[in-house]
Amino acid sequence: MTWTCELTEARLSDYLDGLLSTDERHAFDMHVNACAHCVPLVAGVSHLLTGLRSIEQIEPPPQLVTLILNQTIGPRETKKGWRLAFGWLNALASARFAYSAVSLIATVLILLTASGFSLRKPKLADLSPVNIYRTADRQAHLVYARSTKFVSDLRVVYEIQSRLSKDNELPTTPETTMPQSAPGKAPGSTDGTRPATPNQQNRANGIGRELELLAMQVPLIGSALSGRLLGRRIP
């Protein structure tokens, strides 16, 4: 593609705005780099564009908006008296402010409750740093003890459940589970001897023994279990 000085001048803005095709751009560059007449032209306009884009907007005079509004919709109502004094309250009637206020109040209430301050019987002494520290310390220890006990109880329950499930999974044979009738004895009649112990009875007795062992292993609930579970003998 043959490029000339006239073309360079005519397409200079297209070149600087990136609107030339690859071939045109290449031809433009080849010509300008070899043409002493075009180099200052391109450099000058490039410099101008860089300068123009770095120029910042000018701030209009501060009174301009007021002047325009006065000319179009007339002078705005100026607040006087109590409206001027309490006009700032209008800014508080926004959803954002209400949300912030509710969040702040909730945070203060949580902190007061945690520090042991009673809202029903408020006392000035409750707000002293020493009392707040003591109450917070007591509450922290209480929460820790409760959580420890809760975890311990959970462990016991889990142990009981696992033992029970283990016992239920014991293999059974038809000989041991099927009731055996005595030979020569009519069904439903008794022969005066001691009746055979059912397998369910054996299993319940086994659970009772397991609980006894478990109570021995866990001293925390030993007394409770021995009082409640072990005291109630399984028949």
Binding site: S13, N33, G44, L48, E59, P60
Partner: protein, 210 residues
């Protein structure tokens, strides 16, 4: 010099009318037409700075720019009912009104205008965004702004408005076509001629490429 490297960044210029801005402007215009004064106030606050800058860059005079900005908003307020969002964004329409008023003003004051003097220009405050710059950069930018402003006033109004809209207001070609109401080829030609002419004026003023 390496091919294709003339020290200019090929920046993709974004027009002033993003989709959300278009929607917000259209909504505010509707509210204005229903008599909502606060919507009009919001429109004025959103566009004052841009309109003032166009006026200032075109006239080179702060007082004239302030008066012309008021005239623009007054005309927009009176003719707001004629605005149709289907024909383009509100900002583009407002820029058209501004451009027409500027051309009227240019013709009206042609005889008694002194184009190469900025002595009577009111002092203007540079943008607050410039606070973070170093003092030497600030000084250079302020000097460049002054030089460019002087050179702009020596351009013909057709070329001046094209350069202002493209390179100072960063409008897209199709937006400038709508504002000037001329074909896009004419817009490109005016921008190109305006840039070359402006560069020559700056060179004559002794501003050399760095």
């Amino acid at each position: 010099m390496a091919p294709g490297n003339f020290g200019v960044k090929l920046v993709t210029l974004a027009g002033f009318e993003a989709d959300d801005t278009l929607e917000q402007d259209a909504q505010l215009v509707q509210q204005c037409l229903q008599g909502d004064g606060s919507a009009w106030e919001e429109l004025v606050r959103r566009h004052t700075r841009r309109i003032f800058n166009i006026c200032y860059r075109f006239t080179g005079n702060g007082t004239e720019a302030e008066d012309l900005s008021q005239d623009v908003f007054l005309r927009v307020y009176k003719t707001l009912g004629s605005y149709r969002s289907a024909h383009g964004g509100f900002a583009t329409w407002m820029t058209s009104v501004t451009r027409n008023l500027l051309i009227d003003h240019y013709r009206r004051t042609k005889r008694d205008r002194i184009t190469d003097s900025l002595e009577d220009a009111m002092p203007v405050v540079e943008n607050k965004e410039s606070v973070g710059r170093r003092p030497d950069q600030q000084l250079l930018l302020g000097e460049l702004s002054h030089q460019v402003q002087t050179a702009l006033t020596k351009l013909s109004p057709e070329l001046r408005e094209a350069v202002i809209l493209r390179d100072l207001q960063q409008l897209e070609y199709n937006e400038i076509r709508q504002v000037l109401d001329v074909p896009e080829g004419t817009v490109k030609s005016r921008i190109n001629r305006g840039r070359i002419e402006l560069a020559r004026i700056l060179q004559q003023m002794g501003v050399r490429p760095s």
